[in-house]
């Protein structure tokens, strides 16, 4: 259920200008509004894009957070690969199935 909350925060951040303003002005209080684990808070705060990917955040949501945090396309790709090297395979969600690699 916690992964759902991470994705919900990122979905609302992508879509809602008011949430975006809170992201800019009051990040910690924004995080506090969602039921998140310490690891999830760290991954969002850092930001650790690779860890968010390994946690199972859907890429269609994550790629916008990566862009928002200044990751250009190649850096975003590399961050996900680094996440797999550092934390292991994707834990849950859409990307746990065989990718053919």
């Amino acid at each position: 259920m916690s992964l759902y909350n991470v994705q919900k925060l990122l979905f609302q951040l992508n879509r809602d200008p008011a949430v975006r303003r809170r992201f800019d002005d009051a990040f910690e209080t924004l995080l506090a509004d969602y039921e998140l684990t310490e690891e999830e808070q760290h991954a969002l705060r850092d930001p650790d894009i690779g860890l968010l990917y390994v946690m199972g955040v859907n890429g269609q949501i994550l790629m916008h957070y990566a862009a928002l945090r200044g990751f250009e396309w190649n850096a975003y790709m590399e961050a996900m690969r680094e996440g797999e090297r550092k934390y292991g395979p994707v834990r849950t969600g859409l990307y746990t199935r065989a990718q053919g690699r």
Partner: protein, 272 residues
């Protein structure tokens, strides 16, 4: 008047957002195919364009995810993404709320639909419209098929949706165009982005262009996932268009894998 145009095309955000990083020869040939599609669409003189897309958590989230949703707004806007990231300027598009209501009401005799009077277009609709309706002056009716994650609507029901759309259009005096937008094989927004299974794509396109219903509906999601990536689940949009154009075959106007666009770039039109 019914359907006056039906086709499919790609919608990956890299098509516009990473345009400068593609081989210009292949990219420009692809863009020319979009432009050919624009000209054919305009020649069909549609009153409205139905865009069957597969959005990516722009409007619909896992708290209330419709399998099938049809827009019924006065207007729409987009892109929801950053303009610079997508390479498309923000625009406002007219809707066709009265026609939407009539079509939805009619289609609900055959399929279960959600509706939405508010809808912000993401790249799944913005990229095709960027090429096909650059003046943003053609009324749009967006349709979303959840292709982002299971539980997913079975392929048969996507074809049935297309059939229902055709039947509903047959009962209307307006000239209605429909396009489906989605990937074929691709692994978007993952470390495998750029991987494309061209043989799989070409086999699928052959079945699609032949509008061979039984072969299209024989695809299995687990196998598609394995061979064509999670993006391959978007074949639902093509299958809906096949249903709308049942009894008709199509022509492939462009196909080429463009890895930096993260998809086998496709433009195809049905011969109605």
């Amino acid at each position: 008047m019914s359907l006056v145009f039906a086709g499919v095309c790609s919608h990956a955000p890299g098509i516009t957002g990473r345009r400068d990083r593609a081989d210009p020869v292949v990219r420009d040939a692809f863009y020319s195919a979009y432009d050919r599609m624009r000209q054919a669409l305009e020649a069909a003189r549609p009153d409205v364009l139905v865009v069957v897309g597969a959005e990516h958590f722009a409007n619909f989230f896992m708290n209330n995810m419709p399998a099938l949703c049809v827009g019924m707004g006065d207007h729409y806007e987009g892109p929801i993404e950053d303009e610079a990231w997508l390479g498309i300027k923000h625009a406002r598009f007219p809707g066709a709320p009265e026609l939407s209501m009539q079509l939805i009401q009619d289609m609900m005799n055959d399929v279960d639909l959600a509706y939405a009077q508010e809808w912000k277009f993401d790249h799944g609709i913005m990229v095709p419209l960027h090429f096909l309706t650059p003046r943003a002056d053609l009324p749009i009716i967006p349709v979303n098929i959840n292709c982002q994650g299971p539980p997913l609507i079975p392929l048969k029901r996507c074809y049935d949706f297309g059939r229902a759309l055709k039947r509903a259009c047959d009962a209307r005096p307006e000239r209605i165009a429909v396009i489906g937008t989605g990937g074929i094989s691709h692994w978007p927004a993952t470390p495998d982005s750029g991987r494309i299974n061209e043989p799989w794509d070409r086999e699928f396109l052959d079945k699609f262009l032949g509008n061979r219903r039984e072969e299209l509906l024989a695809y299995d999601d687990a196998e598609t996932w394995r061979e064509a990536g999670q993006g391959g689940l978007e074949i639902r949009t093509f299958i809906a268009v096949a249903g709308a154009a049942e009894g008709h075959t199509g022509e492939l106007w462009f196909y080429a894998p463009i890895p930096i666009f993260a998809v086998g770039c496709t433009v195809a039109v049905m011969n109605l």
